[in-house]
Symmetry: C2
Subunit: 160 residues, 2 copies
DNA sequence: CGCTTGCTTGGAGTGCACTCCAACTCTCTA
DNA sequence: TAGAGAGTTGGAGTGCACTCCAAGCAAGCG
C-alpha cells in the first residue's frame, strides 16, 4: 500500500547543490540506492535518533525496511530530507513541516495548498533576511565604536 | 555603587530606527525618562515577565526603583534593550548576551573582547543570510513546480 | 472604605526540538 | 562461531527561552 511518498518532485542537482558549503558532510553515494540510518545521518547531518523521531511524528514517510526490519533509505527519502533540511534551516517549525508532509501524502489535490504554504514561508524568509540585514548595520556601527575606542586606548598608551 | 551601565554607547536615532517596520509597538515617549515595566514591555514587545527575567539572569543591569520598590526604567535601559532586541532577533543565545552584558559591566578594558564577540556574531549573521538566500532559490523552484502543476490541472479540467 | 489595577517575589510549568536510555536483535569480520 | 559494532523500540530526559502562578503590597477612584 501507498506509504511511499509519491509526489516528491525532485529538484535537479544544480538547484539541490547550490549554497550549503559543507553542511552536508558527505556527498550522496552514487550507484547505490539503499542506505542505512547511519549513512543517512552522515549525509544529512541529523542524528540517527532524529531520523527515527522524524519518522515517528510523520515528518518522514515510513521508510522501507530490510528483511530483518532495519531501515533502508532510498534516493527519494534523501531528496525529501534535503527539502526538510532546507525548511528547517530557515526556521520552519517542525509542526508546519509535518503539515506539509501530510499534504504531500494526500496527493495531487493538495498542490494549491502546498504552494500557499511554501509561498507564505518564502515571505517569512524574505522578511527575516531584511531583518538580519538591518541588524548588520547596527552591528557594524557598534563594532566601529569599539574599534575606535581600542585605537584611541592604544595610542594613549603609546604616548605615555 | 556602580550598577548603572556606564558604557552603553548609544546609537543615534538613524541607526536605531532603520529596519523593524512595526516590531516596536510604541514609539519611545519623549519628555519623560522613567518608565514602568509595562510601558517598557509595550515599547520593546517583550513581556513584563521576560523583562524581570532578563534582570535576574544578568542580561539587564539592575534597574532603578521607585520609593515603593517598583522598577523605573531609564533611557539607557531602553537603549540597552534595543541592542539586546537586535542581538536576540539575530538568534544570539541568551547566554552569549549575558556574557556580553558582563563585559559591558566590567568597563573599558573589555572593549577588545566585546569587539571580538560582536564581530564573530556579525560573521554568523552574514553566514545565515547567505544560507537563507540559497534556500530561497529552492523555495522558488518548488513553488514554480506547484504553480505549473496547478495550471496544468485547471487547464485539463476546463478542457473536459 | 472597598475595589480595581498594577507591581512585587521565588519557584514551578510549558513548548519545542531534540537526545538519550535500557534492553534488546542483527550483521559483519576473524 | 564468537565478539564487536551496528540497528531496533517506547519512553524518559535535556536545554533553551520563556511563561505563568500564588500570595502579597501599593496607588488611585467613587
Amino acid at each position: 500500500m501507498g506509504t511511499a511518498m509519491t509526489v516528491i518532485d525532485d529538484a535537479p542537482a544544480e538547484v539541490r547543490a547550490c549554497g550549503e558549503l559543507e553542511r552536508q558532510r558527505h556527498r550522496r553515494p552514487e550507484g547505490r540506492d539503499r542506505f542505512t540510518i547511519s549513512e543517512v545521518a552522515d549525509y544529512t547531518g541529523l542524528s540517527a535518533h532524529t531520523l527515527r523521531w522524524y519518522e515517528r511524528i510523520g515528518l518522514m514517510p515510513l521508510v522501507d525496511r530490510s528483511h530483518t526490519g532495519q531501515r533502508r533509505y532510498g534516493p527519494r527519502d534523501l531528496d525529501w530530507l534535503d527539502l526538510v533540511g532546507k525548511l528547517r534551516l530557515t526556521g520552519m517549525p517542525v509542526a508546519d513541516m509535518v503539515r506539509f508532509a501530510e499534504l504531500v501524502r494526500q496527493g495531487e489535490e493538495t498542490v494549491a495548498e502546498r504552494e500557499r504554504l511554501l509561498s507564505a514561508h518564502r515571505e517569512d524568509v524574505r522578511r527575516r533576511i531584511a531583518e538580519l540585514r538591518s541588524t548588520l548595520d547596527v552591528l557594524d556601527y557598534k563594532i566601529d565604536i569599539y574599534a575606535d575606542a581600542r585605537r584611541r586606548a592604544s595610542e594613549g598608551a603609546s604616548r605615555t
